[in-house]
């Protein structure tokens, strides 16, 4: 099992997101994340679906997605080639100055930004590959995580191409 990422171009219609998530439920497919965003083309949106599953499960998802009338294009993003990002916001306990400086140091080494701070907490932002974020979050748990938000993955094909079209 590994995380697979499918990038979709879909018609920007009300209800497409419901249709997608409904299809996943109906076909018994578990997805790890689903994100929607505008894209470079007028009237279309980009969706990024992350799935934990085997190649055959991925194949099933791809076909079912292609069958949706409002899906214009299904692109398989191979891990090796794709640039995959997740955005994480987390609020960490930092009651004393020792903890605070340790948190800040670790944040810096991971490339996280400090976006807010109070006397007893620090809020950090990190945009990274999902696994690196997970590692960072694990570290921060050591200090106590008050709140955690992750946007879900979004991805783009590497190089000049747009990923392999299916």
């Amino acid at each position: 099992m590994q995380t697979r990422i499918i990038s979709l171009l879909v018609e920007d219609h009300p209800g497409v997101l419901t249709r997608m998530s409904g299809m996943f439920t109906m076909r018994g497919i578990n997805i790890t994340s689903l994100t929607v965003s505008p894209c470079e083309k007028e009237g279309l949106s980009r969706m990024t679906v992350a799935i934990d599953g085997s190649e055959s499960e991925l194949e099933k998802v791809r076909k079912q997605l292609s069958n949706l009338i409002e899906v214009v294009k299904v692109v398989d993003l191979k891990d090796e080639e794709a640039i995959i990002r997740d955005l994480c916001l987390l609020k960490v306990h930092a009651k004393d100055s020792g903890a605070r400086s340790e948190v800040m140091q670790l944040a810096e080494s991971y490339g996280a930004r400090i976006v807010d701070a109070t006397l007893d907490s620090v809020t950090l932002e990190l945009t990274e590959e999902p696994e690196r974020i997970s590692r960072f979050v694990e570290l921060m748990k050591h200090f106590g995580v008050k709140q955690l938000f992750r946007s879900g993955v979004t991805a783009i094909g590497g190089g000049g191409g747009g990923g392999s079209e299916k």
Binding site: L9, Q64, V71
Partner: protein, 574 residues
């Protein structure tokens, strides 16, 4: 076409006519008053007022299955739309092209729990091929055009259009009959030449080739090609329930329906073949059984279907072919003809065996029949003999359906209409209404169960009021017979809530609606009763008394495989 200024309701009707719609089955309601106001004067569209929306959907479905043309049904918002749901799910899972129009509360009221508001758009999303909630009058031409295009192309299915009151009442300047379609919808798939060629080689070299034909063959109007291929190859043909009619039952190569309630020799042929060409099917468990190691274990599996998502969904195949079934079969034939068949003789043993199985096994299971189903199977055989080849038979669901599937000799495509995927009790009668409207010159008979018929019998009124003389033949066993059969076989005869008691008197019920009614106590009386029914010129109900505990056998028990069906123990050939 020039811009015109029309109301939403007028646009809907204009576009329906442009799509060739001649009939719509529906029931009006508050939010549809604008639409019905236009339909009142409309001469080109015959609107048939149904007595339940479920029947409107089934009738549209039956109509579509008979003609291959998209059926149309109409229902009001809220309860009207929710009543449609069963019928739409039924049509969609059997890939029948239907467009449903539903009324909706005004756009300004959507989400307010307004009177008769239900979120039809979200409710019907998983049971349609696609659906639309129209927000602006000017979008109507595009939406309607696409609804019909999507419903009747690719893998056919149901498209629903939800029409808010203000969208129908509003006026807009529009261009009628647009041609725009979705960029991502490319339904016309040409089969891959490498794959069809490979298939031709496999089939030509096979010693025991078999074709398994499903509803997709009928949907693609490819029955001629199928028959030609079978005859050219010397391949046996077995069908699914939905595939009845793909080849005349009685054709020397036809082994009839396979699967759970199929013929033993059909299942045996699947088990023994060395190349299986599955066309327009989805390998449902009702066809394959559950012991997949018994399903064509020695065969090269070839699967042709228009829907790529069906390939390797239920069964892993060796040669997948995605595309139009008619094109694919033509291509395979083309390659075979090019190859010139030289090894034809090698198949003669197999053809011989097919023929032998066909006639011999009939005798072997006679015992089974008389033990389990002395009357029911005879009744179907009578019906089969009395009806001409182009008569249309629809079925309800249960034992009645499986008796019909097993024993009714279907000769032509689109003449055996049954609820395959959903197994919807109450389907057969309203589907018969749609069938009769589609083909008024053909005899239409619903083979019904007493339980099923009571689910939709109120539409006898529709038949009488609109002069739609269909004949309902009820297998009157006073049981939810199929469930009772399972209780008998697998639950120690504990008939929990399957007895139907003694009411109603179906003859009187028919008469109360102004229909012809007759009771048949013995199979030999059926012929006269059917003729009386047809001669009456009225919709008719024939109440056929059958053995209360008749069983439909043979059958694959739950969890079983296509070999070792219950009821085949005495067959000497398997």
């Amino acid at each position: 076409m020039a811009r015109v200024k029309l109301s939403g309701a007028e646009i809907v009707v204009e576009e329906l006519k442009d799509e060739g719609v001649e009939v719509a089955f529906g029931i009006p309601g508050g939010v549809l008053l604008d639409l019905y106001d236009i339909l009142y004067e409309e001469k080109e569209i015959r609107h048939i007022l149904m007595r339940h929306e479920q029947c409107a959907a089934h009738a549209a479905d039956g109509y579509a299955r008979v003609l291959g043309k998209t059926g149309v049904c109409i229902a009001t918002s809220g309860p009207g739309a929710t009543n449609l749901v069963t019928g739409l799910a039924n049509a969609n899972i059997d890939s029948s092209p239907v467009v449903a129009l539903t009324g909706q509360v005004p756009t300004s009221a959507i989400g307010s729990d307004a009177f008769q508001e239900a979120s039809t758009f979200t409710i019907t999303m998983p049971i349609t091929k696609h659906n639309f909630l129209v927000k602006r009058t000017e979008d109507l031409p595009k939406v309607i055009h696409n609804a019909f295009y999507i419903a009747n192309s690719g893998r056919k299915g149901v498209v629903l259009i939800d029409l808010p009151k203000d969208v129908l009442a509003g006026v807009a300047r529009v261009d009628l009959h647009p041609t725009w379609t979705f960029a991502g919808y490319k339904p016309n798939i040409k089969p891959n030449q490498v794959q069809t060629k490979k298939t031709a080689v496999v089939l030509a070299n096979a010693e025991r080739p078999l074709i398994l034909a499903g509803g997709g063959v009928i949907s693609a109007d490819a029955t001629e090609e199928l028959r030609h291929l079978a005859e050219f190859l010397g391949a046996g043909v077995v069908t699914t329930l939905m595939g009845k009619g793909t080849i005349p039952e009685g054709h020397p190569f036809c082994l009839g329906m396979a699967g759970m309630h199929g013929h033993i020799y059909a299942n045996r042929a699947i088990n023994e073949c060395d190349a299986l060409l599955a066309v327009g099917i989805r390998f449902s468990d009702r066809t394959t059984g559950w012991q997949l190691d018994q399903f064509a274990p020695d065969a090269t599996l070839i699967h042709v279907d228009i829907d790529a998502a069906e390939i390797n969904k239920n069964l892993q195949v060796d040669i997948p072919i995605v595309g139009d079934v008619k094109l694919a079969l033509s291509d395979i034939i083309k390659w075979l003809e090019k190859k010139k068949r030289t090894e034809g003789n090698s198949k003669s043993v197999w053809v011989q065996r097919i023929r032998e199985m066909h006639s011999a096994c009939e005798d072997c299971i006679k015992d089974v029949r008389s033990a389990g189903s002395s009357i029911s199977d005879r009744l179907i055989k009578e019906i089969s003999e009395i009806l001409d080849d182009d008569a249309i038979v629809t079925t309800e669901v249960g034992q009645c359906q499986m008796f019909a599937a097993h024993y009714y000799m279907t000769k032509n495509p689109r003449t055996f209409i049954s609820s395959g995927g959903l197994g919807t009790m109450g389907f057969g009668f309203p589907a018969a209404i749609g069938a009769k409207v589609a083909a008024p010159d053909k005899k239409v008979v619903d083979i019904a169960g007493d339980g099923s018929f009571l689910m939709t019998c109120q539409d006898l009124a529709t038949c009488v009021e609109n002069d739609i003389p269909v004949v309902v033949c009820i297998f009157d066993n006073r049981y939810l017979g199929m469930v009772r059969q399972w209780q008998e076989l697998f639950f120690d005869k504990k008939y929990s809530h399957t007895g139907l008691g003694i009411t109603p008197d179906f003859v009187k019920l028919a008469e109360a609606f102004g229909c012809y009614g007759e009771r048949v106590e013995k199979p030999e009386e059926l012929k006269d009763a059917l003729n009386n029914a047809f001669e009456s010129g009225k919709p008719a109900v024939i109440d056929m008394v059958v053995g209360k505990e008749d069983k439909v056998l043979p059958m694959i028990p739950p969890g079983g495989g296509i070999i070792g069906m219950i009821g085949t123990e005495k067959c000497k050939h398997v």
